[in-house]
Every structure is written in structure tokens, then in C-alpha cells.
Amino acid sequence: MELENLKSELKSQLDTGLKFARSLDSEAQFEIFLYFMNRSNLKILEGIVEANDGIISGNAVKVAKKTSDNKFRVSFTSSSGSDLERIKKNIQECYSTNRSLTVENKRFQSFCYPKNEGKEGILSDELLAITPSDLVPCSQLIINEAKAIDERIKTVGTSMILETGGFAIGNTNGVLGASRLTEFTCDIKIQAMEGNDRKDTYKSVHSRKKIPELEGFGAETGRHTIQLLGGKRLNETMFIPTIWDNEAAACYIRASLGQSSSGLYVVEGLSPLADKIGDRIANPAFTLIDDGQLPTASTTHSCDAEGYPQGTHIFVENGVLKTFLFNSYYSAIFGTDPTGNCSRRGAGIFPSSLPYEQVPSIDISTLRVKPGSKNKNEDDLISDIDGRALYVCSMPMGIFHSQVSTGEFSAVASEVFLVENGEIITPLKSASIAGNFYTGLQKIIEIGGNVQWTPFGVETPSLIIDGLSIVV
């Protein structure tokens, strides 16, 4: 299937599928989701080469059938492949499963209703023309650059992924939407050694448009890795300010507000923010937007995974909680409109490799933290520190293993430095950082101006947070 024709071809199959569904039962509600994605991956890890290529395709069907007491029985089935034969077989299976159900979803009211579509993100012809073997020189450039930085860099690995494809969604309420994606992602993983001391780092870049400029990427990551060698253990327990670089800050936001903003957790009584609309939940300088129409983001589509247009929503404004994120199911229960945040990416932080198998739920599009008014970069934030602080780089381990409901977290940063009176004094072996996410949001004491893309679905500047408990 060519990308140019993908939308019309998937929509045509959807249309046929929905007609078939109506022929089975004109009163039941049907929803059909089709997914078709070319995925190529090249990994070069210390000279081990693995290449992978194929089409991830599948279909999902949802049936809601009203019972005599006006409640709905709801079933969901998915199957690999998106050809018409499999779609029809799956529709039949979902309908047959629904007929055998003896339990109702008391809250279900209806699938989504049609609205004008939003915009797709950037689509690239350049990425369409690339094959996995074309990526070999790019990988070798990064690897050679990193290795040349310092002989203590012992292992370097790259993983490049190309994805081109899209999805279509339709239902018996008249929704018929489709959206496409072209994306290139490159990860680098470096390990440096000195004696028995090892440090490893991981960085990522992406683009929907082209293979980005990769010169300097390996060298910069290599230099950062070398800086972490010789980390000290201080044997101290303390409360000091923590400077979270872009990636670490993105993890903090994703693990906390990225989940508790979901209408699912709000409605089910699992979000600590459930009754806090209108309350100040963060420093007044903190504003957070969920942007489903950012052209460069991989999550940007003309419609969400149930066919509702993706949009832009102010979630926290000047520290005050403004709204939650919804799909049609939970918005109806909550008594509001959907926000275009229906997702089939699965329950984890990183998307499922088989999105068509995932039951429609709620997820962020791209969370964007508004930069601080003083437009400080990371060096400024560090040099402003009076006394001691901890400078946390990249994803702290365990931060995504926290419970949404409690807000309590306890994570371990491996890429971490001690800062004293405005200067980085020494790398540390590791730092255990614990606290409550929501208390921490109140104690943001500085927001940088250095907004950056991160692989965690959050664009954010660096943040300084006070009051967290540290063991180093």
C-alpha cells in the first residue's frame, strides 16, 4: 500500500467492513480500527548487525449491543492482518462474542460522533525512499564519532527505526477518519569504562521529516558519558534542590501529570487530581499544554484512535489545574466533551508494538511545558545555585514504576552530578531521589527556557525542584 493512497484504501476497507457489520445487526453499534505500518529497524551494536523489516498490520473491532434494560454489552476483538477477509472474520467473531456475553458495561453510552478532522503531522517523501541498508553509513558515522572521543569509551550501539504508514477508524455513527505517519528515530547507547568503573548513557533523536543532521550526535553523547566516570559516593542523606535536565524533567512530568491528567484515572477515583480543577497544583510559573496538533510530533494525527479530532488543551495554566484529557467514553461519564485523546498505544509509557491489539484508552498527545520567563539555559540554572544541588540527567531508573494513585515516587539517577555554589563539583555514582510528585510540583523553584523534544512524549525545559529526599 503506497502512503499516498493509504488513507483512501483503508477507508474503503472500513466502509466495506461497516456495511458488512450492519448486515449482521442493524441495531448494534460497531467500531472498526485498521492499522498498517511499514517498520524497518537497523541495529549495530559493537559490530553485531541486526536488520529487521516488515509490515505491522492488524484490525480491531468493537461491538456494543443494547440489552432490554437499556444497558450495553461491549466486546473487543483484534486480529493480525488488515485484508478484507480478516476484517470480516474479526467482525463476526466480535459480534458472536458479544452475543455470548452475560455482563454489561453500565456506563457505555455510544461510540464517538463525527466532527471535522484536524491536521496530520508532517509527512515526508524523503523518509519513504530510505531502506534499512541506507542507514548503515549513518550508524557508522555516529559510532566512529563516539569512539574517537576517548579511548575509555568501550561500547557504542545505535538503533535506527523507520516507520511509514497510518491507521483508519470508523463506526456506525458515521465516523470515518484516517491519518498517516512518517518517522525516523535514532537511539545511541554508549558505555565508558575506567578500571572497574562503568557508566552508560542513552540518547535519542527523531524526525517526521527527514534523517536529521547526525553529525556531532555521537561525539556529544560520548563526551557526556566520559564526564560521568569517577563518580563518588558521599554516604549522605539530605534535602537539596534538584536540577532536572530536559529528559529527566520530561520523565517527572510524564510519570505524574502525564498519567493523572487522564480522565480514566479521574473517573475511576485513581487520580490524586480528581477533585482539584481550579486549584493551584504547581508553581504559578508552571503552564502545561497537551498539544495534539504539533506538526513535528509522532503523536500528531488528524483524528485520535476513535476518530475524534485531536486538539490543543491547556491542562495547567499558571499553576492552576484547568482540565483533564478524555476519550468519548470517559467524557460522557464525566459530563464533558472528548478532548481527542483516545489512544491505542497501550498502558505503558512507550507505545505497544501492536497498537491494534490495544483497547481504546486515554493518553497524552504531546505535553509541552511553557518555558520560564527568564529564558535561562541549563548552565544559567546551575550557575544560579547557592549552596548544594543535585543535577539529574536523563531518565532516573524506576520513575515510571510509581503508582498514579499515590503520587509517591522513589527513583535512582545514574547520570547525576553534585553542584556547589554554581559549579558542577563531581559526578556521583548514583542518587536515590524520593518524594511525592505533586508536592514537588508545588516546589518547582525555577523553570528554564531551554525547551527540547524528548522521547517521553513531553517537550520541556529543565526544572529545579526543591524538597525531595536524596541519598547519595
Binding site: L45, E46, G47, I48, V49, E50, A51, N52, D53, G54, I55, S75, F76, T77, S78, S79, S80, G81, L101, V103, E104, N105, R107, S133, V136, Q140, K154, T155, G157, Q191, R198, D200, N235, T237, M238, E268, G269, L270, P272, F350, S353, V359, M397, G398, H401, Q403, S405, T406, E408, S410, V412, S414, K429, S430, S432, I433, A434, S469, I470, V471
Partner: protein, 476 residues
């Protein structure tokens, strides 16, 4: 289907591949979820597809298709060969391997010795009944309940493989799981939670036993949440520690198992590289990975073959503190002069197999729980887990869902969620003792993540372990 896979192997060889593997998965996944009084979607997934690996001059190319059509499988074979050939000039570390005598499983091999009532033979209502009983029981025993979630999940189906060894392997993967999560609200308005589950390769009859009935699972989750209402934050710092069996399993898996996966070792990225024969832990530390443990007695997941056609067996990774073996695919085993271990696993047909764990666990010792508490003296007794993570430098973290502060061998008060962290090479030298009770845990929900292959069902476990010092993240 096997003839189509055999044709793919022949085609790959004709094209010039030094070795070809062709596999087909046809798996059924079902989940049922009830949250409070609302039944969520009843979910059935059919996951079916073919994957082909071609090896050429040390490179591997992998291509896949969701189609069963002969032509599509042949196209995937050509693409796999093309990828391997095109990327071969970049290979510097060749993971070639020799042929083995063919493995023949016979007609679809099943875990009949573990499963009397197969989940496919049970109607939907009986599974709905399980979840209803879990939720109802949790409601009866819980306090200040904000949310109750009951879930049942099952995954089963056929895995077929053939390769250039002319092996023909056909077996059925199966795992079931019943879980309960109770969220309660403290008087201050904070949310706390309790969890309980049972899962693994077992038949539906397991839920009729007094140990793993829905009533036991629901009540345990409710009681855990209730206890958390009065729990305190764990103090931050370095203390003596005691890990409960489930948490010990995550330690075996996260903090040690991943580093023993031989792809990391082959490229020099694991701190266990070149350490075979070295004393890494105390004499109390013996760590095993086995695809075929005694599941009837201890629990776990049945993995009799890996995705390269190697039979599952027991690998002693560490014996009495000494590093003995890594976990391999065929290429890393050959490169590191060890035997393949049956650990080459793929998440599904869309991925090529890589070294992964099966059931990873510490062997038990000779202490009772009371003796372990006495040996702990003063410190943290950490219980249950919500997972963990390790980095290539050996730094790890794993989460305990709850625990107790222990003073002079006596439990003093319950603790909330806490993280345990450290460096694996330090930690194993701090194990002072192990209890005599071995438990393995597995399940449908959750699983292991490596690279972008998540969540792969695994098992892990062990006894309770006493540590002389662990870093706990908590309240300073």
C-alpha cells in the same frame, strides 16, 4: 503450515543464507476486567504471523508477515536475505554458529502435566465468575475503598519452528493470571493500594484450590490496602534488608538476569563480561534460569523451546557466589564458547529472537522466616514488587509495594512503597542468608522489557534473602 516454513528455509538457503530459521506464532489472548461494578470491554486478540531469519556472513536479516500465504512468506524470506546481505559489510563481531542435530517435538507438545482444565475449554461465564468473586471478596474485606479492579488474562497458542538443522518444533505456550488491585483513601485524603495475584502456566483448576482461589486473592489485596492506610514512609538511607520471595525474584531478574544475557556480554557491555569463575557473591547466592522448572511445586512459566529451536533447560548462572554461565542465543553461545541455553526469545512474530530470561530465581537456603527476621535484626522487610530496572553499569533499582520496619527481629510498623537500589556486584556480596521456601511468580499481565520488545511473559522468584546493607529511597 510447516511445509510453507520448510519451503522458506529452502529458499533462504538457495539464495545463499548460511542458516535460516522460520517460525509461526498463532496465539489467542483474552482479558476480562471489572472496575468497581463496571465491566470493561471483554477482549479477545488473535496474534498470528510468520517471521524468517536469514544469516549471511555474520549478519542477520529478519522479515515478517501477518499473512499465511505462501507467496508472502517467500517474499519475507527474500527480504530477510536481502537485509542480511546488504548489512553484512558492517559486521565486525560475527555471531555465526554451527548446525546441531535436528530437534523434533512431535505433535503439538503441551503442558498437559500442569493443565487439567485448559482455558480454551472454559466458557466466558466461568471466567467472569472468577473476577466477580475477586472483586466481591475485596469489597467485603477492604476499608475506605476508592477503587477495586479485578482482572483475568490468558494467553495460549501454537508456536511452530523449523530451521536449517531440519528441526521441527511445535508446542503450545500457555499462561493464565488472576489479579486484584484495591485502592483505599486515608483519612488525610491520600490514596494507597494493595495488590494480589496468581499466574503462570497452570490450568483453570488452580483457582479452585484453597491457596489460589479468587476469594484468597481478593481478600489478600484488600488486607494489603487496609494495612497501607496506617503505613509510614520508609526512612531514606542504607539499612539491613530482608526481601520477600516475589521481590527476591525481581532482584534475580532485574539486577542480575539482564546482565547475564549474553548479547550484552559478547559486546562487552555487561559488568559480568570476562568474569566467569569469579566470586561475585556470598556462598548463599545460587541463581538459576530455567524454562522447565518444577512449576507444579514452585510455580512459573513453561518454556520448553526457545525461538531458535533450542530446548529449554536449567542453567546455573551463579553457583555459591561464583559466576558459571551466561544466557545465550546460538550465536553468543558459539562466540563465548558455551552451550546454548534455550534463552533466545522473541516478543512476537514482528521481532527477531534475542537473549531473554525464562524463569530466573535464587535457590533457597535453610532459614525459617522467623530466623530470617532475627538475622535481619533492625532494618527493612520489603515485600511484593511493581518491577525494577538495571543499567549496563550494574546500577539497579527495584520497587517494593510495601514492607515493615523491623527492630530486633520484630515487625514494628508497616511501610509504604519503597525503592531498593545499588550496584549488583556490591549487592551479591551482601547476602547473609536465605530462607528454605522457594516461590516462582509469573503471569499474563506485565512482563519483561528489553530493547523495544515488551512485555514478554517470564517467571522469577526465590526464597527470602537477608542483606547486610541496601540503599532505600524514602523520607530523609
Amino acid at each position: 503450515m510447516i511445509d510453507k516454513l520448510q519451503n522458506a528455509v529452502s529458499l533462504g538457503e538457495e539464495l545463499g543464507a548460511s542458516f535460516v530459521e522460520a517460525r509461526k506464532d498463532h496465539l489467542i489472548l483474552r482479558t476480562l476486567e471489572r472496575m468497581n461494578d463496571v465491566w470493561k470491554d471483554i477482549v479477545i486478540r488473535t496474534r498470528s504471523g510468520v517471521g524468517i531469519t536469514c544469516y549471511y556472513k555474520g549478519a542477520s536479516g529478519y522479515a515478517f508477515t501477518a499473512s499465511n500465504d505462501q507467496n508472502d512468506i517467500q517474499d519475507a524470506t527474500k527480504q530477510a536475505y536481502k537485509l542480511a546481505k546488504a548489512t553484512a559489510p558492517a559486521v565486525k563481531l560475527k555471531l555465526d554458529f554451527d548446525s546441531f542435530p535436528p530437534v523434533k517435538s512431535g505433535k503439538t507438545k503441551k503442558a498437559d502435566f500442569l493443565i487439567k482444565k485448559h482455558p480454551s475449554s472454559q466458557d466466558l461465564d466461568s471466567k467472569i465468575d472468577l473476577v466477580n468473586r475477586v472483586v466481591d471478596q475485596a469489597r467485603e474485606y477492604g476499608k475506605n475503598i476508592s477503587n477495586i479492579k479485578g482482572r483475568y488474562g490468558e494467553l495460549y497458542g501454537q508456536k511452530i519452528l523449523t530451521n536449517s538443522d531440519q528441526s521441527i518444533i511445535d508446542w503450545e505456550f500457555e499462561v493464565i493470571d488472576l489479579t486484584c488491585t484495591v485502592t483505599s483513601k486515608t483519612e488525610e485524603g491520600n490514596l494507597v493500594y494493595g495488590f494480589s495475584h496468581f499466574g503462570g502456566t497452570r490450568g483453570f483448576e488452580i483457582f479452585n484450590t484453597s491457596e489460589y482461589s479468587p476469594e484468597v486473592i481478593g481478600k489478600r489485596a484488600a488486607n494489603n490496602a487496609k494495612e497501607q492506610l496506617d503505613a509510614k514512609a520508609c526512612p531514606a538511607g542504607r539499612f539491613r534488608g530482608l526481601t520477600e520471595n516475589n521481590l527476591t525474584g525481581v532482584l534475580a531478574h532485574e539486577s542480575f538476569g539482564h546482565l547475564s544475557e549474553a548479547d550484552f556480554v559478547a559486546m562487552g557491555a555487561s559488568p559480568l563480561t570476562n568474569k566467569i569463575g569469579e566470586q561475585l557473591g556470598t556462598e548463599c547466592v545460587t541463581i538459576i534460569d530455567s524454562g522447565v522448572p518444577d512449576i507444579k511445586q514452585y510455580g512459573g512459566l513453561w518454556v520448553p523451546y526457545d525461538d531458535q529451536g533450542i530446548q529449554g533447560n536449567e542453567t546455573i548462572i551463579v553457583e555459591k557466589g561464583i559466576l558459571k554461565h551466561y544466557l545465550h542465543n546460538r550465536g553468543t553461545a558459539n562466540y563465548l564458547n558455551q552451550e546454548p541455553t534455550g534463552n533466545s526469545r522473541a516478543l512476537h512474530f514482528g521481532f527477531y529472537p534475542i537473549p531473554r530470561m525464562t524463569n530466573t530465581y535464587f535457590l533457597p537456603g535453610d532459614l525459617t522466616e522467623e530466623e530470617a527476621l532475627e538475622l535481619l535484626g533492625t532494618g527493612v522487610y520489603a515485600i511484593q514488587t511493581s518491577g525494577g530496572q538495571v543499567r549496563g553499569d550494574g546500577n539497579f533499582v527495584f520497587k517494593a509495594k510495601r514492607g515493615y520496619w523491623v527492630d530486633k527481629g520484630e515487625k514494628q510498623y508497616p511501610l509504604r512503597e519503597v525503592s531498593l537500589s545499588g550496584n549488583i556486584l556490591d549487592l551479591l556480596s551482601k547476602v547473609e542468608g536465605a530462607t528454605k521456601d522457594l516461590e516462582l511468580v509469573s503471569g499474563y499481565f506485565g512482563g519483561c522489557g528489553k530493547s523495544d520488545q515488551y512485555p514478554l511473559p517470564v517467571g522469577d522468584g526465590g526464597p527470602k534473602l537477608v542483606f547486610s546493607e541496601v540503599t532505600f529511597g524514602g523520607k530523609a
